[in-house]
Symmetry: C2
């Protein structure tokens, strides 16, 4: 009986704790703008009211929901896969872009261009079934660690963003990822980590071919890019997949510019947000000059477009979740 | 006060009425198979239990959720659009496939082949923004009528299927359309008619281009087919859009064969259903020889694949909704 009471008390406290929305957002104009927007669109009989089915919120992933420095996580995955597969491919020692990957020569890798990307995709993302790729990507994400923070990649997601996703969903929003990363690279873990199911992940995609192998249908991943969900591709991806215009968009780089513009140009109340990485101590500080997640035009235009620049340093009281909490489970 | 009581009583009765699931399905093995499947996958601690997020159900549209005879509704839309636009295009009188459409010559239209389809799409589905197309398609569907039943097309949807969609959703399923028809042709009305929101509509798609016109971002529809969601394209569309394999698929033609095969080949309990149009009195009777919605291989293989052949004549006590009821509102 005492155990039961203890459990009930613990549950009550945990409910209270999680009922405090946006706990890791510092009090100030950013947090106020977010809550004011949500209040406005969810208040019935208000001129800004938006019915729940139209409460679509879209989030970039790399640099918005999780760390994208020192390199996109999907590139870290590619490098690890090339290393793992290298023993079966002795020819890679002398063949670009594999040689560059194996030598850790990122400059030579970059020099290999689109041809290099296609070869890497073919070797690491294609010529296998969708289920094989899902298993490989899922296994990797369960064990690979971020080089600086020495945490699983699913533990270098941003605590304030997890809270924002929860807060929006609690207010009747449907949350989507709209990322330049590969849909099928994200889908094995987005539900567990972000509470975003596979069908709400819009990303870049490679071509697939349906085949029946010995009576068993499979989807083979082809070494061809079918869709790039970045820059002007993001509004296209949103229309193809979601079929209506979001009312809230959150990004962090110029790759998100068109998604923000498309979202906030719609009629009625809209919210556009850009995460500004200005915290080298707790995470990274980069914008106009960065090769990864460059933010230049967005920084120039945010004020005139009415987009909110979120300062990681000023607006977030905590960056990463405590290990072992929801969302950061391996 | 009496008014209030009357209202409450009315609400109670309407709740009871709508609580009777699958009311238009005749008692018999088909209805039993559906309810047994749903019970099996929703019973916790049963070996067949499927957690709610994985309860994905996919439905073909033409001939499965609504009438597809004597021609696909989207073709009726194209013909009406060509007629409406003809005064601005005097040259169409002598130019195929427009000449065939204006003369009602379906044979000549068919003879114009893929080149004809592309020209018709360009004239009726493209070279406009997504919002313009949505308005045109939405206006048309609000007024065009089926030639035989003289009802709006949204009123020649199948009442038993509306009930099945409701029943599945009440049991934690997420319902998707996976159709060869155009996503953007269906999305303006699927939520109102089927309770399926735009983001759960997977269909064929034309290419789009993001543009900023005088400072306003738009998505221009290009006269190019980007994706055909039919036959072997259906499992591809499911993977691209939903990212996991459904546990229930419902179709009516050989265009749904691969979707059914992909769905039911997955591990665990699965359900595949094919609507057999065998009711010329209340609707239409067609299968192996039909140009529209041909069902041939599916008819041969249903038994060996374990797919249920739903007989419209035997299994449905009612075909269309009463005018004015939910789902059939114009």
């Amino acid at each position: 009986m005492l155990r039961l009471i203890t459990l009930l008390v613990a549950m009550t406290f945990s409910t209270i704790a999680s009922a405090e929305p946006l706990a890791s957002w510092a009090d100030g104009p950013t947090k106020t703008a977010i809550t004011a927007f949500v209040t406005a669109v969810t208040t019935e009989n208000s001129p800004n009211f938006v019915p729940p089915p139209e409460r679509i919120a879209v989030f970039d992933n790399d640099g918005t929901l999780w760390v994208e420095q020192p390199m996109y996580t999907q590139l870290a995955f590619i490098i690890d896969r090339v290393k793992a597969l290298a023993p079966e491919h002795p020819e890679w020692k002398d063949e670009q872009p594999f040689k560059a990957v194996l030598a850790g020569d990122l400059e030579a890798l970059q020099a290999s261009g689109m041809d290099g990307v296609t070869k890497l995709l073919a070797a690491t993302h294609a010529n296998m079934t969708t289920e094989e790729f899902e298993r490989i990507a899922g296994d990797w994400i369960a064990s690979a660690r971020h080089p600086r923070f020495e945490r699983l990649y699913t533990q270098v997601v941003y605590q304030p963003m997890l809270e924002l996703l929860d807060y929006l969903r609690a207010n009747g929003f449907k949350t989507f990822i709209v990322s330049g990363g590969g849909s099928d690279f994200m889908r094995p873990w987005t539900e567990r980590v972000y509470g975003i199911p596979p069908e709400q992940v819009v990303g870049s995609q490679i071509a697939m071919r349906y085949e029946v192998q010995n009576g068993t249908p499979v989807l083979m991943r082809k070494p061809e890019i079918a869709f790039i969900d970045d820059k002007a591709g993001k509004p296209v991806g949103i229309q193809r997949h979601i079929g209506r215009r979001p009312i809230l968009a959150f990004g962090n780089s110029d790759g998100d510019y068109q998604m923000l513009d498309w979202t906030t140009a719609g009629a009625g109340k809209r919210l556009g947000l850009i995460l500004h990485h200005d915290d080298s101590e707790r995470e990274y500080a980069y914008d106009r000059e960065s090769h990864v997640g460059r933010l230049d035009k967005g920084l120039d235009d945010a004020a005139s477009k009415g987009w909110i620049l979120v300062s990681m340093k000023r607006d977030w009281s905590q960056v990463f979740p405590a290990i072992g909490t929801t969302g950061a489970q391996p």
